[in-house]
Symmetry: C2
Subunit: 194 residues, 2 copies
Amino acid sequence: MSGDAPTQRVPLPVPDTPPARQRVDSVVVVNTGDGKGKSTAAFGVMGRAWARGWRVGVVQFMKSGDWKVGEQKLARHLGVDWWTLGDGFTWESTDLDESAAKNIHAWGVARAKLASGDYELVVLDELTYVVNYGWVSVAEVVEGILGRAPKTNVVVTGRDAPPELVEIADTVTEMKMVKHAYDRGIRAMKGIEY
Amino acid sequence: MSGDAPTQRVPLPVPDTPPARQRVDSVVVVNTGDGKGKSTAAFGVMGRAWARGWRVGVVQFMKSGDWKVGEQKLARHLGVDWWTLGDGFTWESTDLDESAAKNIHAWGVARAKLASGDYELVVLDELTYVVNYGWVSVAEVVEGILGRAPKTNVVVTGRDAPPELVEIADTVTEMKMVKHAYDRGIRAMKGIEY
């Protein structure tokens, strides 16, 4: 229960009987699966955190800057810090392709924000892809999340969350696609899907 | 494709080959399942819709006014109309218990908002329970949604979405609980879960 003790970072075993409720300093939430709503729900948590007066940072992996325009507009309006992939990035490597290098750079930004203690909430949007493409090791990501400032809550989104990430998470939801308009020939709709 | 024709309300058959993309005037999204994120993702869509300059209305079924405080605060801040269960409700019935009567009243509000043409987005939060408790028939809900103003998008949330609702929806996501902090003795955290 102490602010400095990292005990809440070690996943607790699932007990046979309902345990007494305990408070923790912060939680790790993972939204994964092939369905809609992974990033959208993270974005909803961003709004809720704002309503509580929290300082919120979002690091957006993978996508180019053109995509989450609506999200960024609201984040700016609410005073949420938002880093899009490539922000502050300078090309230095000759061994990596640019996507890899930008995502590795973005992870470096994310890890620093996680450790800084500047945020009650850090959203790592689409981070699982960075791990699944092999650009950043899962061990590195786990270390960055476990090594966060004690009161920094984390939301990670993306398909195929690696088991090591599920292991250290407090709450994991799989968003499963039951039916999607796109399969029936309907285009993605501005305002609903982006 | 005409603004008045209700053709887009009839679910299209799933084609064997990817169809040419088409625009529709509005879509119906259902977030169901036992996991977290159903309402949170709806709330994220609310923020996105705001960013697009849409007029948004939220009707919140089931829950008392104390719960979604953060959501309501942001909604108010963004100029989103928000009706909580019981708003404008006057007790008249002697045959119904108060929960049933309040939820039936809230559905009446929702149906009027759907038909009004005043909104590009109407969120019907926790509506499935109202149907599943038998307070409003699924036929009535389907009729209300299909009879909405042509440009009004709809997001419905709640567990166990009835098949008739899935049938008329464009996009359905099942939020599946993989792991939840609560099962491991951790209390719901303000700012993350409410």
